[in-house]
Symmetry: C2
């Protein structure tokens, strides 16, 4: 199949003027007579002319396109964040290309290569849980393609970062469980290399400390960010000689696993075990019982990361200082922890 697009040259031919004049008239240049402008614009509309963005990209070495890499678009947290990215990008005249890493370093690298070769103007990324090495992002930055991190950030690179206050979210969740009378509070954490895992773990520990509750090594387990992971770790926790009376889950997938494992094992929430997770609200309220969760402003994170990125793209030089924004999370209490 062949595409025929009408060009500036064709308009020039039909009007018997030069391409330069057409180009200027279309961009409403002050040095073209009103009369010529009108003729050109009228014909352009009639012919349904659209400038070829590819030619412009070649000229400006800019594509007006940004990339987003997230672990998984099916995850509500990320699809909502992408909504925020698109929101800002479109309003500032950029298009968005979405990539999924599926938590795989190799996929992330391949997306980065694609971004570099496609001359994408910049990248917003939530790092894959498998990526301890982030050389591929450093390399993009060195090539002049700015990178902004959101949600999953890394200390290994200087750039803008937008994340949620994971520490405080975890602290609040743990404190809430303590106030509800729980004393044996377990935590199923995410994979170790991920930044948010550390922050959340710290929040959990500090809340215990504040109330003089002893931290027990065996009550903290690391898990993949999957439902199956949450289920397996819950089996392990409930098999302990001294069982926890509460479990705090580090992600929504993990929390779903906790929930289904507890039901399957015959425990009642919150009476036997109270549960709080970092969760998507729509999801958690469907479960029985509905799960208390720390909600995160995902849409807003996408927006802020993108607006920082576009500022980087549009400024001539590297900023004096990179910014790390920490957005507040919010604890929503549901039946699973209402003792």
């Amino acid at each position: 199949m062949k595409k025929v697009s009408i060009t500036i040259k064709e308009i020039a031919r039909q009007l018997d003027i030069s391409k330069s004049t057409v180009s200027r008239a279309l961009r409403d240049s002050s040095e073209i007579s009103e009369e010529t402008k009108k003729k050109v614009i009228a014909l352009a509309e009639e012919l349904n002319y659209y400038p070829n963005p590819i030619a412009i990209s070649l000229l400006k070495n800019r594509t007006q396109t940004i990339g987003v890499i997230v672990p998984d678009i099916a995850n509500r947290f990320y699809s909502s964040a992408i909504g925020g990215v698109e929101d800002i990008a479109y309003s500032r005249g950029y298009h968005t290309m979405i990539y999924q890493s599926h938590e795989l370093l190799e996929r992330e690298r391949s997306a980065s290569r694609h971004i570099a070769s496609r001359r994408v103007d910049g990248l917003v990324v939530a790092i894959s849980s498998q990526s301890e090495n982030i050389e591929h992002f450093v390399s993009l930055q060195e090539q002049g393609i700015p990178v902004v991190f959101f949600d999953r950030v890394s200390d290994a690179m200087q750039t803008h970062k937008v994340r949620v206050d994971d520490y405080k979210g975890a602290f609040d969740a743990t404190e809430h469980l303590i106030k509800r009378g729980c004393r044996r509070i377990a935590h199923i954490a995410g994979p170790k290399p991920v930044s948010i895992t550390r922050f959340r773990l710290e929040g959990y520990k500090d809340a215990l400390r504040k109330y003089d509750i002893k931290f027990q090594e065996e009550w903290v387990l690391h898990s993949e960010i999957t439902q199956a992971g949450g289920t397996e770790r819950t089996y392990q926790l409930m098999a302990l000689r001294e069982r926890p009376d509460a479990i705090f889950g580090a992600s929504d997938r993990i929390t779903m696993g906790i929930h289904s494992a507890l039901r399957q094992l015959g425990y009642r929430m919150p009476d036997d075990v109270a549960v709080v997770g970092f969760c998507d609200l729509a999801m958690s309220s469907l479960l029985d019982p509905p799960v208390s969760s720390i909600t995160q402003p995902s849409f807003e994170m996408g927006q802020q990361a993108t607006s920082l990125l576009l500022d980087l793209i549009e400024s001539k030089n590297t900023p004096a200082e990179y910014e790390t924004r920490v957005l507040p999370s919010n604890l929503v209490i549901n039946k699973s922890s209402m003792k």
Copy 2:
């Protein structure tokens, strides 16, 4: 920030040969001496040279990129279908741009315009439920940008279509309920304009007919494809003087609404009301009780639609005949309908 990319010209300068020779050597042309090729390739690697795809696009009037428009990427059905699209696209050397219509005609039009102006090579789309008018897709096709429909198709346009056997899926679900002893089977259908709504409704009706069960107008309600829609319509059904003893839901969102409404109203599934839905399995098994569902091969639909699209893109002329592929669906029985 400024991007500096190394070009063919630079390689030519350093090697003191012409750009033409460099270009040919890089594409491994047979008319270049082995020696020259080696030199060129070695230097290209050293300099980390990548051809500028934008220049090539301008030359070939091809972008090696396809678009996908789906109502909502957060919906598992679509995110999985996108997985299938990406799978085929990448393996055939294409990149994928993802757009969401959010079930809005205006958003779908704007995505189509973007696709046209960006010279995307082709489009795979599941039509928004709001789009009775699909002129924007016809217009793309007329501009030489092939369009393939999947899941939500339309008769208003001649092209390849890939859909699931909605008729049979609905028939099977209804028949299953009948065999379980249900006689007052309600159906919460999707929005009227959507093609799949009709197919599913027909399957439902025909199954009733086969078992000589009278079709009752008031037991079929149309709903938006949202959880809230399913909930509202369930209220309406259960408020009827003669209550249904089974509800068949036309989509996963609707089915979640049915499920939560029934629980909230105090009905037991399946004893009071049996439930079957067109559902995502991972989702439906989290509910209590787990919901029986007609599952659809979403990944495969994405794959097949994309491979048909790429064939269109790569063939010189319009095919003699357009194809409509109908993939089988599968009924998975869970507790919600096990009477």
